[in-house]
């Protein structure tokens, strides 16, 4: 399982860093619909540090996009893993332990 997770993480990082550079720059379905109906998009409430999937800085846009893609992929990886770990901790005591698992029940 460890190998599988690592390989899939490597694939995800490669997708975020490599394939994303080939992504279509055309407006997405929602943006297209809003534009065709003449609806203006609102102001963002908070300025995000990597708005439009670009790291801030002076480097070429392509590098800043790669950096943003890699950072986001890793942040989501750890956040969703953490969520999964917390969910397992929450397991009610009345339930039997999960298969192949015997500790951290409390």
């Amino acid at each position: 399982m460890k190998t599988f997770v690592l390989v899939l993480l490597a694939v995800s990082l490669a997708v975020a860093a490599g394939l994303a550079l080939l992504a279509s720059g055309a407006p997405d379905g929602l943006e297209h619909s809003l534009a065709s109906l003449g609806v203006a998009e609102g102001e963002a409430l908070l300025a995000a540090p990597m708005a439009d999937y670009q790291l801030p800085g002076e480097s070429p846009a392509r590098w800043r996009q790669i950096g943003a893609g890699l950072s986001g992929t890793l942040v989501v990886f750890f956040l969703a893993w953490l969520a999964g770990t917390l969910l397992r901790r929450r397991r009610p005591r009345s339930l039997p332990p999960a298969p192949a698992h015997s500790q951290s029940e409390h």
């Binding site: 997770v5 995800s12 997708v15 407006p27 297209h32 109906l37 708005a51 990886f77």
Partner: protein, 209 residues
């Protein structure tokens, strides 16, 4: 299809936020009863994969583009409750770090691109796949993924209408037609990824809650 800030009216985004909070609490309850030891790292890496895949906009007819949403993909691999939790993590990071989807629109975006696919799309998948073989499961995943995108797009259109941002029939029509094409891409990527993962690790699909 991430709705930005400032386009939904307060009653709509607050209502959607309340629905999201309630649904997420139920998902947490349900998922915590179902998770086995291997699911936590799997949730992490599948979330990372969906985040990365969402960066790739593919062109669709009419000068527009779409990207994977991934809800049916995650629901088939993790069960709908854990899939919803992972998708919420993805949308949270997208809105806070990348300004992709408004912070006030987080609830609406989670409903349209998360809940609809992970529960509704998953139900369609289970219904169509039955106990069938790989061809039937692939067809079921394609239909479920397509339907999840289409229904999510129509819901987004209804939210825009309810917010007073767009007239009802035009917004339903334009969102519906564009996403009917985007849904084909969603279906193809979902099926290809499922087939690849189940070939690489056949046990993955056997223990899904």
């Amino acid at each position: 299809m991430h709705l930005p800030d400032g386009i939904l009216s307060a009653p709509v985004w607050i209502g959607a936020g309340a629905v999201t909070a309630g649904a997420l609490a139920l998902c947490v309850r349900r998922a915590s009863r179902q998770l086995d030891e291997q699911r936590a790292p799997l949730m992490g890496v599948l979330g990372a994969f969906v985040f990365a895949a969402q960066m790739i906009n593919f062109p669709v007819p009419g000068g527009t583009s779409g990207h994977l949403m991934g809800a049916v993909l995650l629901a088939v691999l993790l069960g709908p409750a854990a899939a919803s939790v992972v998708l919420f993590c993805v949308f949270l990071v997208q809105s806070l770090l990348f300004q992709d989807g408004g912070i006030t629109a987080l609830g609406a975006n989670f409903i349209n691109m998360g809940l609809v696919g992970s529960f509704g799309g998953w139900a369609v998948y289970r219904l169509l796949a039955g106990g069938g073989g790989q061809a039937r499961r692939s067809l079921a995943a394609f239909v479920a993924a397509w339907a999840a995108v289409e229904v999510g797009a129509l819901l987004a259109a209804l939210q825009l209408w309810a917010s007073g941002s767009a007239p009802l029939m035009p917004v339903l029509w334009t969102m519906g037609t564009v996403h009917a094409f985007i849904g084909i891409g969603e279906g193809l990527i979902t099926v290809a990824t499922l087939r690849f993962l189940s070939a690489a690790r056949p046990s993955l699909l056997e223990s899904v809650p």
